[in-house]
Amino acid sequence: MTPNTGAPAPLTALPMPDRAGARLSGSCDLDTRQALSTALGVVAGIPGPVVHLDLSAVVFLDPTAVAALVQASADLGGQGRRLLLHDAPYSLRKVVEMFPDECAALEVAA
C-alpha cells in the first residue's frame, strides 16, 4: 500500500440544540491538534453554569487531547463553572484509568 498523503480526518464541533454545549465529531490526535484547540476555545465561550461536551461521535482521543480536556475543565472550574463530558469513547476512559490523578477533575456523565 502506498503512503497515505491525504488530509487528516477532520474534527468538527457543532452546537447542541437542546442545551449549552457542543458535539464533537472525528478523531483527536496529533493530526487534529489545532482543530481540537479551536473547538475547545469555542466551547469555553458558551455561557452557563454547566457546559456539555458530547463525545458520542468521537472515535478516538489521544492523551494530549485528554490533557486538553482536563485543562478546559480546570479553566471553566476557575470561573465557577463545569465541563461535563458525555459518551466518552474507550480511549478517553482508558487514559483516565492510566492517569487517574491528573484526570481526577474530569467529569464524565455516566
Binding site: M1, N4, T5, A7, P8, G26, S27, F60, D62, E102
Partner: protein, 334 residues
Amino acid sequence: MITVPAPAGPGAFVHPALFYRDLAEYLSGVGDFVRTALAADEPVLVAVPGPRLDPLRESLGTGGGAGITWTDMTELGRNPGRVLAALQEFADRHTGRAARIVGEPIWPGRSPAEVLEATRHEALVNTAFAGRPATVLCPYDVVGLAPDVVSDARRTHPTSIERGRDLPSPAYADASALAADLDRPLPEPAGPVARLAYSHGGLAQVREYAEEWARGTALSPARRGDLIMAISEAAANSLAHGGGKGTLRLWTVGGPATQEPEAVAGGPARAVTGVVAEIEDGGLLADPLAGRRRPSLASADGGRGLWMIHQLCDLVEVRATESGFTLRLHLATR
C-alpha cells in the same frame, strides 16, 4: 548461609544477581536480604513470580511480612518493559530512604523474546538507578534457566551471589554495550502479514486499518481498544520523532505454527494465541530509558507514548539500530 550484600554507602546502588539452585537457597538468600532491610527499617518491595510469594511469606514467619510490598512478577512483569517504571515508582515513594527491592523478571518457561526484553530491563536497571541509594536483588534459577540466560545475568549484574559468596562479576558490561547485542534482527513472521505505510495526516487511517484487521481476530473489544491505542501512540511517535513516516505490519501468532512447519504449509489450522503489531520508522532511541518511568499526562516527549505502550501490551519488543526504530507489540488472545 548466604552472604547478604554489604550495606551500601550513601548514594550507592547495588544490583546483585542471586544464583539459586533450589528453594532452600532461594528462601535463605531472599529471606536474609529482606530481614536485613526490615531490621534497618528500610522499605522493601518483593516482586517475584507468584508461586514464590507464599513460601517467602511463610519463611519470614509471623509478622515478617509487615512492611513489605508484595507483587506477583508474572503479572507486573508479563511485559518486562513495565517493570523498571514500577521499581522506580517504589523508590520514589520512599525518597530519602534506601529502597530494597527483590526483582525476579526471568523465570523458567519465559519465551526467548520475553527473556531478551527482560535482559534489556536488567541492563537498564543499572542506568536508571545509578547514584541512587537502593539495592535490587535479582534471583536466577540456575537449574531451571538455560545456561545462556545465566551468562547474560552475569553481564547485567555488577556482582553475583553464588553458593554463599558475594563476588564482583568480571563479565559485567554496561547497558550500551549490551544494547548492541540485544538489538539483534527480529525473525520475519511466518504467516500472512497486513501492511500499511503512513505519514502526516494518516493517523486516523492507521487506526481504522488496524481496527478492521483486529475485528477478524479473537481479541476482546477492550483489548482491541488497547491495541489501537498502542498502535496510535507508536505511529504518532513516528510522525513526531521518527522521520515523519513509518510502516505498520500486523499478523497473528500461534504456538503450533512456530514449532510445526506443516501447520504453516497448509496443514491443520493452527491455534492463534496472539496478535502482533509492528511499527517501524526512521527514528533513533535517543534515551534508552524512554517509556520506563511514569510520565505526566501533559508531557509531550515520546516517553509518554512508549510508557503507555508498555502498559497496554503483554510484550513489547524494542529494536533500535542505525537503520531505524522498531516496536513489536504483542497482545495475547487467550
